[in-house]
């Protein structure tokens, strides 16, 4: 299974892999928002947690359709399905690879970008922590959506429609944790719920992803 993870990471870094696509999108959105909202620092710092989280969400969405589509097109997915790897493990590794190439860079880039949105100084830590805890759930849920739409032409839009509603709990608790951190309140309840969602999706969704893949490969 590690071989699959390493292969996916290698493919992501090489030409046409789309590594950094999500990060670049995130960067652009966060840089553009202050131009749109205006230079009102109080307003910017009020909306900063929400902007950072929504931008991270959309950036994660951007590369989802590649998770299985490329493997499906060249036949690798069929071969993986007949290999000794359990499909649940394949789903898990795909999600992990997506997180490492998308979620992790976003998490690292978010605090510096928070500066552009005049994020409250107390909130920097919570932006990092909440994204670190929350973005894995985005990748796992997205992998499930990618499995549902694998084999569909132009499945990307359908994928967004399917996946975005499932992202809502993560968005609510992620942004809430940052907001409470910025206001000097206790963010731990929100962080715990965020962690709960991530843990739950990590355990349960790969099973659903594998079941959906089996049906789609028939």
């Amino acid at each position: 299974m590690i071989a699959l993870l390493l292969r996916d990471l290698r493919l992501a870094v090489r030409a046409g892999g789309g590594f950094g696509l999500g990060l670049a999108f995130f960067l652009i959105v966060v840089v553009l928002v202050p131009f749109g909202v205006g230079p009102d620092q109080a307003l910017l710092s009020r909306v900063a947690p929400g902007i950072l989280w929504v931008a991270a969400l959309l950036a994660a969405l951007l590369s989802l359709d590649r998770i299985f589509a490329l493997d499906f097109e060249d036949g690798s997915l069929t071969l993986l399905a007949t290999s000794p790897l359990p499909l649940e493990g394949v789903a898990w590794m795909k999600a992990l690879a997506h997180w490492i190439t998308t979620g992790l860079p976003l998490t690292v880039a978010a605090p510096p970008l928070g500066f552009l949105l005049s994020l409250a100084p107390e909130a920097y830590l919570y932006v990092f922590v909440s994204l670190l805890i929350g973005t894995p759930a985005l990748s796992v849920i997205g992998t499930f959506g990618a499995a549902l739409t694998v084999g569909l032409r132009r499945g990307g839009l359908l994928l967004s429609l399917l996946v975005l509603p499932l992202y809502i709990p993560t968005l609510i608790f992620g942004a809430e944790a940052v907001r409470r951190g910025a206001d000097g309140l206790d963010p731990f309840a929100a962080l715990l719920l965020l962690g709960g969602i991530t843990a739950g999706t990590f355990v349960l969704l790969p099973i659903a992803t594998a079941a959906v893949l089996r049906i789609n490969l028939r």
Binding site: I2, A3, L4, R7, R10, L11, R14, A15, G16, G17, D71, E73, D74, G75, S76, T78, L79, L80, A81, T82, S83, P84, L85, I215, L217, R218
Partner: protein, 204 residues
């Protein structure tokens, strides 16, 4: 080693073949023949476990089946060696040194798979079969886009390495591979047009 008893398989919910039965002992190959659309690919996918049979039974040693189709599963952004190493690691085997010579890939080892010709890609796809160490092979048109020389290379490997070591192969092909194998005509097993379709489990 491979036993197929009374298998009925469907494509898109419509049965295409019914009552297919055969046995392939270790070290033997079976060639499937039949016109386009008769259900060779469907049968092979059913045997490989990619789709369930509507009825009947397929038995072979667990975790020994391998499927190869028109799509080779080659990653164009990886080199030939990286592609093969990946499949070896997935299957928990080591990359045999001889594999590059067997499939005439020695000169291409470090080439990006994306720069290979169609026939070279096909050879790389077939070389995967020599890497994963599986005993029961289900091959769907393995010689598409291969030249005569490469077909012989592949047939040699199949006969002298795979089958000689007690492996089994079920091959759907229209060309003469030049290996000693039983031929199974699929035409007589064609499912009656009014045969009831199996339940489409995906929607239950």
């Amino acid at each position: 080693m491979l036993n197929v008893r009374d298998v009925t398989c469907a494509r898109g919910g419509m049965p295409v073949l019914s009552g297919v039965s055969f046995a392939v002992p270790a070290g033997h190959a079976l060639i499937l023949r039949g016109p386009n659309g008769i259900g060779k690919t469907t049968l092979l996918r059913t045997l490989a476990g990619l789709q369930p049979a509507i009825s009947g039974e397929v038995t072979y040693p667990e975790d020994q089946g391998a499927y190869a189709s028109h799509a080779d599963g080659i990653k164009t952004a990886l080199t030939v060696t990286e592609n093969l190493t990946f499949w070896a690691e997935v299957h928990g085997t080591k990359l045999p040194d001889t594999i590059f010579d067997t499939f005439d890939l020695a000169d291409l080892r470090d080439r990006m798979a994306g720069t290979l010709s169609a026939g070279q890609k096909r050879r790389l796809g077939l070389a995967r079969l020599g890497v994963i160490g599986r005993k029961v092979l289900f091959l769907d048109e393995p010689t598409v886009s291969l030249d005569g020389f490469s077909v012989r290379l592949f047939a040699d490997w199949l006969q002298n390495t795979h089958l000689a070591a007690g492996g089994v192969a079920v091959i759907a092909t229209h060309v003469d591979l030049g290996i000693t194998a039983r031929v199974l005509e699929l035409e007589p097993f064609k499912a009656a047009p009014d045969a009831g379709g199996g339940p489409d489990e995906a929607f239950l």
